[in-house]
Amino acid sequence: MNFTESFRIAFRALAANKARSILTMLGVVIGVAAVILLVGIGTGVQDEITGQVEGLGSNLLFVVPGQYGGGMGGDQAPPSRRFTLEDSDLLARRVPGLDAVVPVIQASTTVKRGNQTVRAVVAAANEGGSEVFSGTLAGGRGYRRSEVQAASRVVAIGSTVRDTLFPGQDPVGKTVTLEGQRFTVVGHYESLGGGLAGDQDSQVYIPVTTAQRVFNLNYINTIVIKATDADRIEVVKADIRRVLTPRYGEEFTVFTQEQTLGLLSDLLGTLTYMLAGIAGISLLVGGIGIMNIMLVSVSERTREIGIRKAVGARTYDILSQFVIEAVGLSVLGGIIGITVGWGGAALMAKFTPVPTNVTPWAVATAFFFAAGVGVFFGVYPAWKASQLDPIVALRYE
């Protein structure tokens, strides 16, 4: 008997038990759809975040105090010595080939206007801040060099802050209260959306000198450096080390954009695999469902197997008939699951802020995994069927 014939017999059997076939398939459909959707979300988020980091330019370097090894650095001891504005001035003077040296302070705060308040993240920098922060001005301007030098109380606000405090109004020229001080709004930014890379729409931008005064700090968190030429990044890195080593020894770290991306990709990749693993479990459960139904089907059709064997079916014929049934269920379920998962991912990208990206790789993996589940969980019941003694099978009531 040829393969086409096995196919025809198997699909006739599946069609004869439509409700059961569909319910069995549902397990695989849900499993595959979950894999596609969750991996799609993982990949989408990863793409967006790395895209945002890359969007800042591959010629950025981040200098942070303390020693960071290859790991994620979450459990590092607090650095013994922090950077000061002096350090950033020193780097600006002593390292050639730089577009900008930006000292950064980050802090969280509450912004008030009248009786309205909104939580915000302060991103304080110098006039080079616009070089290293993403975002497009919707109106007004950023703070100027003179305002940095004078530690003026000026602020440029993100769209969420604007929409909360100034609904439907132009905020430029108005005042807000930040840490008890009155600030003049000089500019506001367009919404960046997404919000997965830290909510940039809730940020407020003030001069770093002002931030030191308002928050009563004498240090800065990070120094962000923009090299003129991305190809010279390693040279610039060496120069930075040369300048800072006499002052800090080994107690500082220079990250290139590439390293930052590497860290992010590691983290997000792990997250994606975790999601895929969880979804994979539901696919496994779907597979067990197939095995269960196939076992029921084999015992229900014992007599049919006996008849087929009596008229000449060999072990292989019965085996392939039942394996094809199981694989048919899982492959069909896989195709429907891919459609559902893909559609769900597309809808999610369209109607929610969660970005999704369904890659051909994920689709292929889910498909072959589903087919594999069918083979794996179908072989045992099929083997059981093929080993039936025709005499016993024919006598079976």
Binding site: R303, I307, A310, V311, G312
Partner: protein, 255 residues
């Protein structure tokens, strides 16, 4: 067919000193002990015996569904004892056509597809299968029931589909196990008439029954008792189902 020619025709299937032991619930059962029978081409033979006589075991061995523990089974001159289950499947497909008491048709399947089943496993192409299945169904007067499902047919019709299935691959032997056991008397007579008609056309038929009346449709009866052949009997007053059918009043309900 006169007795003289029958004696000269070749032996299709022969058992030589066949014994069969098996364990049933841990108890050793001697189902057959030294059975030697020979079936000649074109014969109609009954294997007869009460239940527990070993008749069914003998039928399974003759039908190549089972292997003897001792002795030999010779099919068309070849020793087939000791073959693998798959080899037996192929031999059954080619040489044996089964007719069972409970019809054993596939449910939710048309008459045509049921009859095609042995041809599927013989690896015969779709169009050839379809042609031969139609032909076989016409031989049992069911040419107008090709696409009826088994469940839409009467018992007699189902048994005729089973006979068509048994015939379709031109087997050496049609093996009918209590073919009338589940039928009303009229359908039973019809089925026996078809089997006799096929035998007249040269097909070798083995009947297996405990019923003396059914047995006497054959030319020869092999009496099996306690696992061995008790006696062989040439049927003198053979019942001819075709004649019996002609004397019955015409069927009231068609189909």
């Amino acid at each position: 067919m006169p007795d003289g020619t029958r004696a000269l025709s070749r032996v299709v299937l022969e058992t030589r000193d066949v014994g069969k032991q098996y364990k049933l619930d841990g108890v050793e059962v001697n189902a057959l002990r030294g059975v030697s029978i020979a079936i000649r081409a074109g014969e109609m033979v009954t294997i007869m015996g009460p239940s527990g006589s070993g008749k069914s075991t003998l039928m399974h061995i003759v039908g190549l569904l089972d292997q003897p523990t001792t002795g030999e089974v010779i099919l068309e001159g070849d020793d087939v004892s000791g073959l693998s289950p798959n080899q037996l499947s192929e031999l059954r497909n080619k040489h044996i056509g089964f007719v069972f008491q409970s019809f054993n048709l596939l449910a939710r399947t048309t008459a045509q597809v049921n009859v095609e089943l042995p041809l599927v496993y013989a690896g015969i192409s779709g169009s050839e299968r379809s042609r031969r299945a139609k032909e076989a169904l016409e031989r049992v007067a069911l040419g107008d029931r090709l696409s009826h499902f088994s469940s839409q047919l009467s018992g007699g019709q189902q048994q005729r589909v089973a006979i068509a299935r048994a015939l379709v691959n031109n087997p050496s032997i049609v093996l009918a196990d209590e073919p009338t056991g589940n039928l009303d008397s009229r359908s039973g007579i019809e089925v026996m008439a078809i089997l006799q008609e096929l035998n007249d056309q040269g097909i070798t038929v083995i009947l297996v029954t405990h019923d003396d009346r059914v047995a006497r449709h054959a030319q020869r009866i092999i009496h099996v008792f306690d696992g061995h052949v008790q006696s062989e009997e040439i049927v003198l007053n053979r019942i001819l189902a075709g004649t019996a059918l002609a004397t019955l009043p015409a069927e009231e309900v068609a189909g």
